[in-house]
């Protein structure tokens, strides 16, 4: 990943969040408070706009800026969770160009950060249920010497599988946890937006 890909990725996320805003909100309406789509759209639109800054010289600088902008503009739980994740990924990429192995390590730092903040583990019906399998898939491809685009494609597929797997789970974190057994049968909105983030990465990398 280079700076151009990082920027293109963020722009792609902003576009997909705008397009999927209503669907995310519907998902959140079922088990949360119906603001996830609006929040994701607002946050990534602000993040994409913040990248007009020409002073960003490394992949990390771009992604740290994204994270800080999300924290400053989203609110709710997703602002800090997505924001700290992007900041952690960015902090691990102090380079103008990152190979798949380095990017996998950065994704791992992102997972560590979001887990530290949200205290969620796989199976809690959260964004972790899409992120953790995506990271594992990316890591496996990277370790096997795959190209960035191939690793990103594997990560997107794994995230989507993880996303679908949240439907039968009972939520144990966030607002959905108050529903108890009634949260079963609804796909988690956070896992869904995470899958969109990884799909945007795969699509952007494939176009290059």
């Amino acid at each position: 990943m280079d700076i151009d890909l990082a920027r293109a990725w963020v722009q792609a996320i902003a576009a997909v969040m705008a397009g999927e805003r209503d669907r995310l909100t519907q998902l959140d309406s079922a088990i949360g408070d119906a603001d996830h789509g609006v929040n994701m759209q607002r946050g990534f639109a602000a993040a994409a706009a913040a990248l007009d800054d020409d002073g960003l010289k490394t992949v990390g600088a771009v992604l740290v800026k994204v994270g800080s902008t999300l924290i400053s503009s989203v609110g709710g739980a997703s602002g800090p969770l997505y924001g700290s994740t992007f900041r952690a990924i960015g902090k691990a990429l102090d380079t103008p160009q990152a190979d798949p192995v380095l990017f996998a390590a950065a994704l791992a730092a992102g997972l560590q950060s979001v887990q530290k903040l949200g205290a969620a583990t796989p199976g809690d019906k959260t964004m972790i249920d899409a992120y953790a399998p995506a990271l594992a898939a990316f890591q496996e491809e990277a370790d096997a010497g795959a190209e960035f685009a191939a690793a990103a494609r594997a990560a997107a597929r794994a995230a989507e599988e993880g996303m679908r797997a949240t439907a039968p789970m009972q939520a144990r974190k966030g607002r959905a946890s108050y529903l108890g057994p009634r949260s079963i049968g609804h796909q988690d909105p956070g896992a869904t937006s995470t899958a969109l983030v990884f799909r945007a990465l795969a699509d952007t990398a494939a176009r290059r």
Binding site: T25, S29, G32, D33, A34, D35, V38, N39, R42, I71, S72, S73, V74, G75, G76, A77, S78, G79, P80, L81, L117, G118, R172, K173, G174, R175, S177, Y178, L179, G180, R182
Partner: protein, 332 residues
């Protein structure tokens, strides 16, 4: 959806313009989205800052003023504010004696206030956080995000605000806030779902003859569905849940809040209060103070939340202290 708005995107900005125009006792910074007292904070006084998603008016901006909050940070509708807002608020109102953040226990509010507290401390401001988690409709277990913060927020802000006004130190103000929270239990029942402007339709489907028992203040569903009941039966359900969690005995004194969720007329809230007062009197519990009205709302949701605080003499004295805010006002 029928709402008196200009557009879902501008609801918060437009409402802040109205708050600024309506209340000259407040200073509304629409850029940083921070509401403070127009007169500022007295030097040396501990400052109280609260905030949360909008849609709960008068919470929180309506409780900024003498004897209560120094600043409020309104987030987007049902979305917590961001750390920048809270930091701006803390910097604006710190009178040198530190800042108490009053935070309702929702994942988003907690995370953003945690970040703000770190930023404030980095900026040399001493902070304490009082977490409000009074809602007995959800279990406080490792399997949930813990109890939600609801009606007790008003009591915490009033009583801690009074102690801060009297000149107490940071630790003491935070301690009384925590004590009020620990002594308070709440339970809410919704008759209808609410409609967030951005969602455009009700947050959950609730048939005409059913009620949602144990809702939170965002319309998020609660314990269970049931058929519509009389006010007396609904009060019995709520009070049972509260007193099971916090037993009270004859002679105990209570501050009782019968709070409308936004779409329920005062007539019905008084019907509810009569039942609460009677049920508590039967147990020998003295309703020493009460509030009946819309204090912590959920947009247009019909329904009621009941908060019972087992108050000691110190809390009652602080409750009686003068308060002058748009949402709560009395002489001592």
């Amino acid at each position: 959806m029928k709402k008196l708005i200009n557009s879902p995107e501008t609801v918060l900005d437009d409402a802040l313009a109205g708050i600024a125009a309506a209340h000259t006792s407040l200073r509304v910074d629409r850029d940083s989205r921070v509401i403070t007292r127009a007169a500022g904070t007295r030097p040396g006084k501990v400052a109280l800052v609260s905030g949360g998603g909008s849609g709960h008016e008068p919470l929180h901006g309506g409780f900024v003023g003498t004897g209560m909050l120094d600043a409020a940070c309104p987030g987007e509708v049902f979305t917590s504010p961001v750390p920048d807002q809270m930091l701006a608020a803390a910097q604006r109102v710190d009178g040198g004696a530190g800042v108490v953040f009053v935070v309702k226990n929702y994942t988003g509010d907690v995370l953003n206030f945690e970040m703000a507290a770190e930023l404030a401390q980095d900026a040399g401001i001493r902070t304490e956080t009082v977490l409000v988690n009074d809602d007995v409709a959800v279990d406080d277990s490792t399997w949930t995000a813990g109890r939600r913060g609801t009606g007790a927020t008003v009591l915490v802000e009033k009583i801690a605000g009074a102690l801060a006004e009297q000149g107490a130190g940071l630790a003491a103000v935070a301690a009384v806030g925590r004590a009020v929270n620990a002594a308070s239990r709440s339970f809410a029942v919704a008759l209808t779902a609410c409609t967030a402007p951005a969602a455009g339709k009700p947050g959950f489907d609730l048939p005409d003859d059913e009620i949602e028992i144990g809702v939170g203040i965002h319309g998020e569903p609660g314990r269970r569905r049931d058929t519509m009941r009389s006010a007396r039966e609904i009060v019995a359900i709520a009070l049972d849940a509260i007193l099971t969690d916090q037993p009270m005995s004859a002679g105990d004194q209570a501050i009782v809040l019968v709070n409308g969720l936004g779409g329920t007329p005062l007539l019905e809230l008084y019907v509810v209060f009569a039942e609460v007062a009677a049920a508590l009197a039967e147990r020998g519990v003295v309703v020493a103070r009460n509030l009946v009205g819309n204090y912590v709302t959920s947009l247009d949701m019909a329904g009621v939340s009941l908060t019972v605080c087992k108050a000691d003499a110190g809390m009652l004295a602080l409750w009686d202290a003068p308060v002058n805010t748009p949402g709560l006002r009395w002489e001592s």
